[in-house]
């Protein structure tokens, strides 16, 4: 590209050297920066490849098809030491997603409760919420994780003296064991019933709100939805001859056998991330609610709307516009903080990747996979939240 071509047909003629034209200068600076960046990336890449070759280190992603040879304690999909490294990474990835998604849901619920609690007129609730926020916000997340993990390990009994909970559940320092449902033939109808119930509920809710808009009559939405979502599957379960049985945990030689177990690693990471992030979300929620002009509340009260309905229908919808953008950052933080799992041995992407890195020595490849996965996760969360934000945003006329 020649410089001449970049001179725009400006309003004023260049008075002196074209180098004094700010637009041309801009182009030149950007060009130089881009060139330097490309050169830097090129230099790093070729140097790395060259050095790996010189050090006789194998490179490439072919190793992902190799036999893993190690076992993973917590896995959502079937995994044995005969599975591939690639599958091990998928196991780690799913574990990361699991703790991130459950953590985000819990953190949001706790965060909203505490955030609204801080604004409560009840002195005790407000102060308790404040203490919660100040404590959790000011401790590093790793310490919170250690706190829960050591707490879980130190307080809970050995497997032989497991605490029995209702519904055949047991808790000990190996985790929470609960009966695992075994789906026999015919149980698929229950699943179908659930799906039908949910779809029907959505249609009913829409119909109800339309009806209310037109006639002002309110239909019993809550009870109908409950009936459809819970009642229908239960009815099907009874009609199909109770096809679900339960595999109950029983004491084995070392651990409880049978049933499903949620390990203390997951529990402590999940609790720590939820409680830690909830403190930040609480503050965001408080800021959002405070950000809605008090005149809105007064106007609602003047119209005779009750306080509870005012919060739900007037304040919170407007507060959401302020809340969502910073909330996105907290979700991303929680997802990224989940990589602290490695400190307590939860098999997340970083932990499993680290194991593979060590067994194969493919440091560059594994680190690149980590970067790509976390980047993709974060960008997807961002995209979703941007979409949600756009939906909630003020519709300007």
């Amino acid at each position: 590209m020649t410089i001449d071509a970049t001179i725009p047909p400006g309003k004023d003629k260049p008075t002196g050297s074209i180098l004094n034209d700010p637009k041309v200068r801009g182009w030149i600076y950007q060009g130089i920066t881009l060139l330097l960046l490309v050169l830097f990336v090129y230099w790093v890449t070729t140097n790395t490849i060259e050095n790996l070759k010189r050090a006789n280190i194998a490179s490439g992603y072919g190793f992902l098809n190799g036999r893993a040879g190690f076992d993973v304690g917590q896995s959502l999909i079937a995994f044995t030491s005969d599975s591939t490294y690639g599958r091990a990474l998928v196991v780690g990835f799913l574990n990361t997603i699991l703790v991130a998604v459950t953590g985000i849901i819990t953190a949001t619920i706790i965060g909203f409760l505490v955030g609204i609690g801080r604004l409560s007129k009840n002195w005790l609730i407000a102060k308790l919420s404040m203490v919660y926020v100040e404590v959790f916000r000011n401790i590093p997340p790793l310490l919170v994780i250690f706190f829960w993990y050591s707490g879980v390990l130190a307080v809970l009994p050995q497997p032989r003296d497991s605490l029995a909970l209702p519904l055949d559940m047991y808790i000990n320092n190996r985790g929470l064991a609960f009966p695992r449902p075994v789906f026999d033939a015919g149980s698929q109808f229950i699943f179908y019933a659930l799906v039908i119930g949910i779809i029907a509920s959505i249609f009913f809710a829409r119909y109800a709100s339309k009806k209310q808009m037109e006639t002002g009559k309110r239909l019993p939405v809550l009870w109908t939805v409950l009936g459809l979502v819970i009642g229908l599957p239960v009815l099907t379960y009874l009609l199909a001859g109770m096809p679900i049985s339960f595999d109950v945990p029983i004491a084995g030689k070392f651990n409880l056998t049978g049933g499903s177990v949620v390990g203390p690693e997951f529990l402590s990471l999940f609790l720590a991330l939820s409680f830690y992030t909830a403190a930040f979300i609480a503050e965001i929620v408080r800021a959002g609610i405070r950000g809605v002009s008090h005149g809105q509340t007064e106007a609602a009260h003047a119209l005779g709307v009750r306080p509870g309905l005012t919060t739900r229908l007037v304040v919170v919808p407007q507060a959401m516009r302020i809340i969502i953008p910073p909330l996105t950052s907290q979700y991303l933080n929680l997802t990224k903080n989940s990589s602290l799992a490695i400190a307590i041995g939860y098999a997340d992407l970083v932990a499993v990747g680290g194991t593979i890195l060590n067994q194969t020595g493919q440091a560059v490849e594994i680190v690149s996979i980590w970067i790509i996965v976390y980047l993709t996760l974060s960008l997807s969360t961002s995209l979703f939240m941007n979409w949600f934000n756009a939906k909630m945003a003020l519709v300007e006329r």
Binding site: A55, I57, F70, I344
Partner: protein, 341 residues
Amino acid sequence: MAKRILTALIGAAVMGIGAQAASATTLGDVKAKGFLQCGVNTGLTGFASPDASGNWSGFDVDYCKAIAAAIFGDATKVKYTPTSAKDRFPALQSGEVDVLARNTTWTINRDTALGFNFRAVNYYDGQGFMVRKSLNVKSALELSGAAVCVQTGTTTELNLADYFKANNLQYNPVVFEKLEEVNAAYDAGRCDVYTTDQSGLYSLRLTLAAPDDHIILPEIISKEPLGPAVRQGDDQWFDIVSWVHYALVGAEDFGITSANVEEMKKSTNPDIQRFLGVEADTKIGTDLGLDNDWAVKVIKAVGNYGEVFDRNIGTGSPLKIERGLNALWSKGGIQYAPPVR
């Protein structure tokens, strides 16, 4: 950890330029900077652990000191880089450390795909299991259903999977990155079984709250030849690291100790004369790029192999590990040094 991998990556990238600018050999580099950068364990009693004032000691640490003594005649010219099982290899690959003396098992994968060289085996080890006495377990074959604590990124982790699979036993791995975390988890009762190299188990048992409540099961399920590792592509450096070990073993064979090495220089035995570099016109050290009396310096610094063993992990230490396989070949073990000739 992440920081170290990043350093390794940048190191890998920058190495090209660095290597061209400085001397082409590791020995040259080490001499130029004036000290040996040695990768050791983060803390394994008897093998490598720092004391309250930050002075390192242990079996592997003595190898670092011995190599430094061979090069500089001064065992203190070592800087230690504590590495976890996971970041030890990037540290060596990137050139962050000159030699990795970190109870590392010699395997074909590490010798080839990872780009390292092993030759001297300073400790013949094997993987074992430790359990609480109260479990009443007498053999590893009774461990089906147990939760097993293991350090990630080790051959141990792989042997464990293979052993349980081969014997059709179920287990639940509880995996940590750092040795201290594995210890804490086992001590807290998170798992029933602790598995690592047997030497490690003896060392770790000492750090538990009640060492006498734990027993080490008789089974050894793997071969774990431990030894110092170097990067491929520098044969001279590889030779130096290997021969420092052989000098230690050779010295024990000849009966040379740190106490009598000066007297032994007057020995009339030609083998010993050659070994200690007192033979006329010898090139025994210069061929390695060292001084001819390098073996003397090594022995003065740390003693012979038997002394190093006893002081750190053997009868003279709290670990009290038997020499076993690590006795000299002439005494029923398999420690054997090639002739110095």
